[in-house]
Amino acid sequence: MASSAAVPTDVKRPSLLRLIRENKVAQGLTLISPANVYLVLFMVVPLILVGILSFLSRGEYGQVLFQFNLSNYTRLLDPIYGRILLYSLGVGVATTVLSLLIGYPLAYYIARAPARQRSLLLFLVLVPFWTNFIIRIYAWIMILRAGGFLDTVVQWLHISDQPLHLLYTPTAVMIGMVYEFLPFMILPLFTSLEKIENAVLEAAADLGAPPYRVFLRVTLPLSIPGMIAGTILVFIPAMGMFVIPDLMGGAKTILIGNVIRNQFLTARDWPFGAAASMILMVLTMVFTFYYARRAGLSEELVV
């Protein structure tokens, strides 16, 4: 850097500016620090509080006693929580798979539509997603409940004159869950499908592959990153979701989300709730990281 001293204009500039200008690392840190500082302050610190909380214990009247112990974690060893966790996993998986099955053809259709139509079609997928969550759910309840819209249609079509009694069944829960998470699956799928050039598909056909084999051997594999991103965005929240199962499923079962919520809102056993959420977080963290690493999550999430 000795030579630089020979350059008057540089000497004049404030040294800090020069430091930043010449140091890529400094630039990177400058840009990232606002986010890091903010997230550490408003995410990490609060979570540390929860972490500490998970080692304390519940007072008789639901207040938090500063008695350090591990009982909250040992209590989680009770097989019932294992069962609940598995059940929640099941709901998460079912939702993810169904959204994938329902969303994939749509994403494919949009990705292959003429460029002019694409953004419109995509935007149509997003609109309902902008209304209020709870209202969407109640709309579905109105549709599914006995004598509701669906029954009316069914009777009008003379398919059956008996109410279907769909509401408060697992089917209803799935209808609601998939509805809620579909956009999160379609968006990433769309972006990865859109990236596939027509020429590659033509090449496959040219090499003797009939359409279905073109799909299985080329389209599908090339859209895996999108599937992974979509899976993360759907599976995680679906696993923690409990409002839909409660409202549309009749609250007859209990999910990990309920367990955590109940600790804070009915049993008022915050330490135990904290412990449960710590475990859940660690699990999802591991899951996400494993997957996110395998598919540049961000690259697939173009809205």
Binding site: Y61, G250, A251, K252, I254, T266, R268, D269
Partner: protein, 372 residues
Amino acid sequence: TPAAAPTEAPPAPAPTEPPQPATTSAGGPAPTSPASAEPTLAKPTSTELNLYGWSDYVPQQLLDDFSAEYGIKVNYDTYSSNEEMLAKLQAGASGYDLVIPSDYTVTAMLNQDLLQPIDLAQIPNFKNLDPRFTNKGYDPGNKYTIPYQWGTTALAYDKTKVPFEPKSWADLWDPKFKGRLVMLDDEREVTGMALQTLGLDKNSTDPAQLDQAKQKMVELKPNIVLFNSDDPETSLITGETWAGLVYNGNAALARQQDPDIEYICPKEGCGLWFDNLAVPKSAPHADAAMAFMNFMLEPKESILITQEFPYSNPNKEALEYLKANDPSTYESYTAFSATNPPDDFLARAVEVKDVGAATTLYDQLWTDFKGQ
């Protein structure tokens, strides 16, 4: 006034009703003269009141009247379960002047020293209350709370649908009810019901008894199609359910839509609850809160609550006022057991108490029961 416009039933022309109290209370001091004559009754200096209450539980008209009378702006923020409110105050949330905890929640709050005492001398209208509903176990002498509304949790059923007329909780275990019952999504009420069915104390903390209750509940599970604490009446109206454990309010609403709905306290007993106004320790405008409690007890103000919400009113003067000014509403109020339970009904009603450490047991039981 639009706030009341949606009220469809009771037949009383509720939309036109509210203005009268509004106008009268404008010239309020006259009728309340005995109270306001009290030299000790201080006019609040605060200009704001942060009311933190159940959603849709305090009539907009009442708030407007209060503001008109005292020139105090009321912020009405809502919660939808005692525990939501408790969670926030327990965490130390401050700024709220008035909350509406239920009986057992009062106990919990007192134990955590979250409430501040109230000076009954500041609340002359306390005398309007029916003694049956004051001086309760959770707050002897009403040092901290003023009754707001009360009600029951009991058995509602559609008499045209049920296979037979249920007389006791035990009847619900009948296979004929398979997939036809609705239950409050509330561990204390449901477990309590099971305990009562077994002839045990609704607030039992004995692990063995609770375990029995659990077994009993598990047996009932096939008959339950829905747990819902918010609008169980809807499923009764649509016929998705025939019977179930609900709040009196739910039963009343169901009755408005469907006259075939009955509401009884089975022979094993049923539930009883009280909602009260209380002032958090951290309240910045306690004086306004006190003023509101007194104002709310004015008969023509208190009755607004009954006209808009289908619960029971502990204010006997208010009911007298209703009888005088709106007989038809009074009629339907007294006629139905949900709003005006007969004495034998009340006699069997047991209120839920805070069970302290045992709460964990109930939660564990509930988790096991649902996690089956």
